[in-house]
Symmetry: C4
Subunit: 240 residues, 4 copies
């Protein structure tokens, strides 16, 4: 593999994205973000199996869309979540799996996660939930460790931007690393606001028309988010 300038940018953005997501409380000891190879749509980049806080550009591995790599270092068991989504969704260039804390309640209750402010319009009218019990019964490890389960996660995602894995966590997708960081941050914020809102009164969700119109508007502001979070990292001494 030649490390072109476009690939180098992706490696650096994956490392910075991991730092941002850690610092903003979306990732902790688990979770991982990947990006499609800008030189080859049939491959993607993902760090080797490490705690997110340890990842550097030297840890990035290259996978094909079956989740196979020639890198001999250990790989995340959940890499098929990434590979199956890249296979099913040619428009997706970045995938994040996390246990985003404020989103978790929507992974194990019957309350759907729906947008309550314009910032969450990208989530669509409601976030789908992948229920592993439907096909695999109630004695699984709840994990996205195999091709079949992960193909089903990709199917549950459909053409949306977020899918929840029942009693496990969250998957965000987008067109770029920056977009996915933005969406992950605001998925968490929307979930936090909705949880508070449900405890104070009757919730008025975004209408289908608002979801559509506001989604376009907010999507244009992604670099502003990236500028802000990288500044925050620098102020905390976590980025040069």
């Amino acid at each position: 593999m030649t490390t072109t300038s476009a690939r180098q940018t992706v490696f650096e953005e994956l490392v910075i994205a991991t730092k941002i997501l850690l610092h903003e409380g979306i990732l902790d000891t688990f979770g991982h973000i990947s990006a499609r190879d800008p030189e080859d749509p049939n491959a993607f980049f993902l760090a080797q199996k490490l705690a997110p806080s340890h990842i550097t550009t030297g840890d990035i591995q290259r996978f094909n869309l079956e989740g196979e790599t020639e890198d001999n270092r250990p790989s995340y068991l959940e890499r098929y979540i990434h590979s199956e989504i890249y296979k099913a969704r040619p428009d997706v260039n970045c995938v994040l799996h996390s246990h985003s804390p404020a989103v978790l309640p929507y992974c194990f209750t019957d309350q759907p996660l729906k947008p309550v402010t314009h910032m969450g319009a990208f989530m669509g009218e409601a976030v789908p939930v992948y229920e592993i019990r439907d096909k695999h019964g109630d004695a699984t490890d709840l994990f996205g460790g195999g091709h079949d389960v992960c193909a089903d996660i990709a199917e549950a995602l459909g053409d949306q931007t977020v899918v929840l894995m029942a009693r496990h966590g969250v998957v965000n997708v987008g067109n770029s690393v920056r977009e996915v960081v933005f969406r992950a941050f605001y998925t968490e914020q929307e979930a936090k606001a909705l949880t508070a809102g449900l405890s104070v009164g009757n919730v008025k969700y975004l209408s289908p028309g608002e979801v559509k119109t506001a989604g376009k508007l907010v999507g244009a502001q992604i670099d502003r988010g990236w500028d802000h979070w990288t500044m925050t990292l620098r102020q905390a001494g976590l980025l040069k």
Copy 2:
């Protein structure tokens, strides 16, 4: 434009206010604070379109009350929220738009935000909510991007100090930058306390008389807040 000493003070206070509001969690990647030109009531100052954490005194633009500027750098799309309020409210010298997180639930539920301690008396008996659907239907971008919507926001604000924008965010106004920072902080605190209070028992809100009497008292303590928050910034290495 001559940079008089009064204007220079306003520029510096806008930058410090932005840092305080970021550090206290009122702003994140979005939101902006403006101030009326102390030399000309028909103009106001607002930073160019940037993530709040990037703003310096060099980024301040000057607008007339139609939201027009001669500065060629990009401007916030939501500047009309500011211009229409300065037009409607000659007593207002500072306007803040934010997505203050604890206040958001009151932007998308039927629960009114009302003061529960003396610190929130400035909010009046209840905070008005601007519902964009009333005039513009339910397929808008929920945004304050045009003169007409923003004139309606100013109308919904009336003679109060805070107005909520349905499914979007918050606008605080006041007589000075320091007063608006103080009010933004305590709007957030009151909302946080009310959300917890609603989950533990029956709430006894401030009475109309208490709103009136306590509001005067607390309003005299604004510099103490400013002194505190700037000290906090210095301790965090974010202000010299």
Copy 3:
């Protein structure tokens, strides 16, 4: 006034206590902690009117039990909360007034604050609430600014360790500065736990016997708390 070594210790403990209470989120821009003069039970020490983050040993003023001082610098308007409690409670050597955030919901709802773990046993079976409306009607400033209101606060406190001021805040008292810091921290913790507990199930409060027995035990551990919080300040670079 001679600055004896006992007085100097009190001055330093008041400053450190203020830093701890700020750092642990009990104080913000408001609130103040005082201590009885170790050389004269008819006097007490309290900082001049400043944001808590600005206070040094040079800011301490001396008051008699009418809340009068010979110090010409501005004094807190709420000093009578302190003076009236020292007058009514000879056993009390330290008084703290705060807007302790997790406790606020119990200042404006009908839900009593009662201990739920052994750490809160010092609060007694239930924390009394001073309701200013009972004597003064519903158009006051909700403030403890006069002798009469503050004498009533002291009366509402009775022989307990905490009293809430309706729609305003909290008063903690104790035998020493260290004890009051300890109690303020655990009043906040107990309130936080109770708020969460009320939302998940039926609460089993401490019994009268547990309040009595556990209170004695925990009270012996106060210096451990002080050692911990001062270490935390030093690690944050806020104390030498």
Copy 4:
């Protein structure tokens, strides 16, 4: 006692574990973590009576399974919680007692703490609660200060990994210091998620089969957690 290399590793891990648990908000001024002597199953190591933030390897004391030590420095009164569990559970090599804040509501309500994501599978189908009132009435100090109470806590724990002490706190056990840190962190996270989940909808807990299968999977990732939290400590300047 000879300080073998295995013992030295345990001492260092106990100190680092204490720092991690403080930094992650599981411990505050109270709580303690111990480890069985790797050279002698009839002994264990626990720091002398200190605020957790003060503990160094020089503070570790050695106890037999009756909770007796030859070290003359003060010992924690609650050491019998540790000794009785080591006696009853030969498989346990580490015991932690804490007042883990998000777990407290499950110590004083009738709502059982049950796992809601795969990360909490180690907790079993439901976390047992030790109710001191059952044998000792309702006028105790709620404390684990004696052999008999602590033997009952060990009995309530049974063959599980967590036990709650009614109106007091939490005990986590495991095979190693690293495993207990991991479990303590995720006990807190699961409790936080469950509290939010109970307020938003009907909760779907892990099934018995998921508890069993997911528990095995997650248990293999313990070093990743340790790597992450020690990195976090280093970034905060709290570990070299």
